[in-house]
């Protein structure tokens, strides 16, 4: 039987558009596995985006695929940082900038809420003292 007689046609997807390296879709699978661990065991994790062999187009594509959710947290700490919820709950896109606006680091954090957004218990205690002092001063 000739090869041509087999009624199966292979469709070659073709080369990815210019600039894309083909590494970004792989990362989506990694994110999926981590979200699974978050859902099953409550395990939080993070992926260092700048440590991956991704081009700028890859990062754009990834950002597009992940989309935007309902929350954007802006952190002003020696340059701005943006913690954006993607369209997938529990998946956050975290970008750290220096005062000049350059990118310091970028992570995808898989957690109910990013670590940076939480208030540390020592800071809460310190704030409580100041609040009590304020109440005392006003009374």
């Amino acid at each position: 039987m000739k090869l041509e007689a087999i009624p199966v046609v292979a469709v070659i997807a073709g080369e990815p558009p210019a600039g894309l390296s083909g590494n970004a879709p792989v990362l989506l699978r990694e994110i999926s596995a981590r979200v699974c661990r978050l859902a099953d065991a409550g395990e939080t994790s993070a992926i260092d985006l700048l440590a991956m062999p991704l081009t700028a187009s890859d990062l754009e594509w990834l950002r597009e695929q992940l989309g935007t959710g309902e929350i954007v947290i802006t952190l002003d700490a020696d340059g701005e940082s943006f913690l954006t919820e993607t369209s997938f709950p529990g998946v956050w896109w975290v970008m750290h900038h220096n005062p000049k606006g350059g990118v310091l680091s970028a992570f995808i954090e898989i957690a109910p809420v990013p670590e940076l957004a939480k208030a540390h218990k020592d800071d809460v205690r310190g704030g409580l003292e100041r609040l009590q002092q304020l109440i005392f001063d006003l009374s």
Partner: protein, 365 residues
């Protein structure tokens, strides 16, 4: 995370979140996983405030001052000031206010007061020719100064390719007899931080490690911190997919180059060079040589100046420095063939080239 460091940071207006951000970034730069950033945050924040800051002495020898320039061109004041506020830089000729006899006194006072505990940073190679007369400071040869200051040092950090390997002065024919620090000092721990110049955060990362853990980071066989020099440029290059797909730029500014293809054929030494340029990049993460379209020079490897040529591909045989006895006839044939190849290359480059006029540049504004 309790501890004086986190409190002293708060007093300087640096919040805990700011510190977390810094640690996350530093961990990313040291090619450590995000979890390590959390661990570093805990460790650094818990560092007790020392009653006396560790003393650091900076010795400049046969250098171009590029290494000093590199470290002072830090982009984030927090990252670098954290280090320079945690040490006592007791001698640094470019940055210190003192000069002449006062400067020399400062050096000897710091050495005496911190005997056995001070860190020495060396940049520049040390010439041994003419008994070291090729480079002297205050009438003393560099080699004598190095031996004297190294005697009571805790450790020596060789900053830059010149002090780590000999660098440019050591390139053929090495007229001054330049050598590396490790060629002279044999009885002290030496950390090599090569690069021409090295990336600034590598320097501060090593100091941060010493300040946090009191030890030097893990070193490779060339004495380089593995966290920054553990992988080749090639392994982290964003153009690696193009290398894997066999898409190479043939000349500068051809179509392949404009599409950002691999620069292997244009002499990139990425595959044999260990450094962090591909991840940390330069000038506040702006760019790095390959991203700007030029192949890696291999500046953090020994003898890169004599490596055979910045524009010769790694796969091409390259040892013009070795004495090879070749029959005159064979030599002539090779010469003619090379000339013919070069002519075709040149005409190909000419046809592949697009001239840019002033109007084009104005248009792109």
């Amino acid at each position: 995370m309790q501890g004086p460091l986190i409190e002293s940071l708060a007093r300087r207006g640096i919040s805990r979140r700011n510190f977390s951000k810094y640690c996350a970034t530093l961990a990313s730069m040291m090619a450590l996983p995000p979890l390590a950033g959390h661990a570093m945050e805990k460790a650094l924040a818990a560092t007790p405030a020392p009653s006396r800051r560790p003393s650091v002495i900076w010795l400049p020898f046969q250098e171009c001052t590029g290494c000093t320039e590199s470290i002072t061109r830090s982009h984030s004041p927090t990252l670098e000031s954290l280090i320079f506020e945690s040490i006592s830089l007791d001698y640094q000729e470019t940055l210190m206010a003192a000069a002449g006899h006062q400067a020399e006194e400062a050096l000897h006072a710091a050495m005496k007061a911190n005997a056995g505990k001070y860190l020495v940073i060396v940049d520049g190679s040390i010439p041994l020719g003419l008994d070291g007369a090729y480079s002297c400071i205050g009438g003393r040869s560099n080699v004598d100064t190095l031996k004297e200051v190294a005697k009571d040092a805790a450790a020596i950090i060789a900053m830059g390719s010149c002090s780590a390997y000999g660098g440019l002065p050591k390139a053929h024919p090495n007229p001054t007899g330049a050598v590396a620090v490790s060629d002279i000092i044999k009885d002290k721990p030496i950390v090599n931080i090569p690069g021409c110049p090295p990336i600034p955060v590598v320097m501060t990362g090593v100091l941060a490690h010493f300040l946090t853990f009191g030890t030097l980071p893990e070193l490779d066989q060339h004495g380089r911190p593995k966290s920054f020099y553990g992988e080749t440029i090639h392994d982290r290059c964003y153009r690696r997919p193009f290398y894997d797909q066999g898409k190479f730029a043939k000349t500068f500014d051809d179509e392949g180059a404009r599409n950002g293809w691999c620069l292997f054929e244009l002499g990139c030494k990425g595959p044999v060079t260990y450094n962090s340029c591909a991840t940390i990049k330069w000038n506040a993460g702006t760019s790095w040589p390959v991203e700007s379209g030029h192949g890696c020079l291999g500046c953090s490897e020994p003898d890169f100046w004599d490596g055979g040529g910045f524009y010769r591909a790694l796969s091409a045989p390259a040892n013009p420095m070795q004495k090879i006895s070749v029959a005159l006839g064979a030599g002539a044939v090779v010469g003619l063939a090379a000339a013919a190849i070069n002519r075709t290359k040149k005409s190909a480059a000419k046809t592949g080239h697009e001239t840019t006029t002033l109007e084009d540049l104005e248009k792109s504004k």
